[in-house]
Amino acid sequence: MAARLAGACALAALIAIPQVVTPYYRSLTLAILADVTLTVAWAFFSGPTRYLSLATGAFFGAGAYVTAVAGSRLPWPLPVVAAGGGGAVMALVVGALALRLRGPYFAVFTFGLAELTKHTPIWYETSVTGTVGRLILAPPAPLVLYYTVLALTVLAVTTSVLLRRSRWGYALVGIGADEERAATLGIDTTRVKVGTFALSAAFMAAAGAAMAPRWTYLDPQVFNPLVSFQTVIMALVGGAGTVIGPIAGAVFLGLASEILLLKFRYVYMLALGLTLIVVVLALPSGLAGLAARFQRRPSARQEPITPL
């Protein structure tokens, strides 16, 4: 109940924010909302199953390209919807191949995928169209963008809550705990994994499509591997096995990155690396795990699942 109340208050504040603050803070909030969407969507799949996906940047970039290519032909929210659909289809194809792999192989494969999707448009644009980038003509108004991303964030968080309570969510946790046992218990592991991977990719691609008009000019650098890594770090710092963890991690590190990245780029990235090392060594279940440990110390059953 308290969680629901807090959620409603946060939503009301987020709806009101662009009406009262300066464009700088609106754009800051927008960037953090996008981080939250990506991180929550990443945690749909990678949180419970412990499959470490580094493909976030690939889906995000592909979504941004949908807006760049089709944005001027379709009325506004349609590019976002189309990108979501496209991301899901892309993830279905990739997932069917990649999800046969486990452990670091899966991580390496998804990372390779991200680089492949980055270099393919570079190669295509230089050898076929002869250009490198694309202009986004007639971007929607900043307020429209803000509410689009906010809607995506709300949808992602709601999905994450519903998913955790559903049979599907339990199946995912089961896969993370012991995939063979889950299969023996009658869970169609391939369908559950590929389906969830596609669902999370749909949100990532939609977020990319919704954020693309901010840049007005788009080139293949939008397939930034940093997006993939940052999402993982945000989720792990917060704790990938809970609903609130990815949100907390994304807000915390999103704020840090927006404030520090431009001024002290290298120092920020260095600190990000150190944070990751410390989290892995000292906080295997993130900030949320730490909070849970303090709240209910005696009962080990209530601990959130250790994400990785």
Binding site: R50, L52, L97, A98, R100, L101, R102, G103, P104, Y105, A107, V108, F109, G112, L113, E115, L116, H119, T120, I122, W123, T126, S127, P225, F229, V232, L236, Y266, V267, M269, L270, L272, G273, L274, T275, L276, I277, V279, V280, L281, P284, T306, L308
Partner: protein, 291 residues
């Protein structure tokens, strides 16, 4: 096809492949032995390259002599990192999967730290120096002499290391550990000491490769990751824990890449190596030479 083109491709391919073999051997030593996938492997190559650059331009140390500094320095750094980070994770992780993913994340952290330290120290501008860029004639085509030297040193070190593993007792222990970790423990091999040692040697190989690479190309702090990916492709191509496989896989990938650059286009190179990686992972995860 003309003979000179063939000599060009094979020559350049083997030279690139020699470099790939050495950097891949270093990665294989870490992954094959400890199941620690060190994605910061290429960052040590980058640091090695910058160290050679700085030693050469600031104090005039001969580039080949810097290998005697970068190698041991990286070895010590590897021992320390193993003790501080990886040994702890190995000891704490309850399952192999947990170990693999946690050590992967650790090395991503390390990647960020090393890359941005280099950016702070040496800036993002391209750096380079010229060493032995005199032409060298072979069978009607020309190669720069520095590439020949670098490739010979790299291949010499790789083959030398292979022979060491075959001949002496420590090599036997390493091979035993790669093939059968539990069995090796049962016959009294001190695993944690060997892990640290091999982690150090692996990182030293990467740094030494970096010193060699600095003689050939301009340096940027971002040069590490492509080498990590290449090394991964080679390790997966040749099979995990398979030292000879890494050697042959490195040469093979060098040839494939060079051929694709000569015959198709230069920007196809990265796409080609990722495509090889993805195909091998999906079709034959045990590697071309795997059992």
């Amino acid at each position: 096809m003309k003979l000179t083109l063939l000599v060009d491709i094979v020559g350049a391919g083997l030279m690139t492949g020699g470099i790939y073999a050495l950097v891949a051997l270093g990665l294989n030593l870490q992954y094959g032995l400890m199941r620690v996938l060190n994605v910061a492997h290429g960052e040590f190559l980058m640091i090695g390259a910058y160290l050679t650059y700085s030693l050469h331009t600031a104090w005039g140390v001969h580039p080949l002599l810097t290998l005697l500094i970068t190698g041991p320095a990286a070895f010590v750094a590897g021992l320390v990192l193993h003790r501080l980070l990886y040994a702890r994770v190995v000891a704490e992780s309850e399952s192999r999967e947990a170990l693999e993913s946690r050590s992967l994340l650790l090395s991503f952290g390390l990647l960020f730290v090393l890359q941005n330290t280099a950016l702070l120290l040496w800036s993002a501008d391209l750096k380079g120096y010229s060493y032995l860029s005199t032409p060298f004639h072979v069978l009607g085509t020309v190669f720069p002499a520095n590439r020949l030297v670098a490739a010979c040193v790299a291949l010499g070190l790789s083959v030398g290391f292979y022979l060491v593993l075959q001949r002496n007792l420590m090599g036997k222990a390493v091979r035993a550990l790669m093939q059968e970790p539990e069995g090796a423990q049962l016959v009294g091999i001190n695993i944690s000491r060997l892990h640290g040692l091999c982690f150090g040697i692996g990182i030293a190989m990467s740094a030494v490769t970096g010193s060699l690479v600095s003689m050939l190309f301009e340096l940027t702090p971002f040069m590490g990751l492509p080498y990590t990916v290449t090394a991964l492709v080679v390790v997966i191509l040749g099979g995990l824990g398979n030292v000879m496989g890494s050697l042959l896989g490195g040469l093979l990938l060098g040839l494939v890449e060079t051929a694709s650059v000569y015959l198709v286009a230069s920007d196809i190179r990265i796409i080609a190596s990722y495509a090889v990686l993805s195909l091998i992972l999906v079709l034959k995860p045990s590697g071309l030479f795997g059992r």
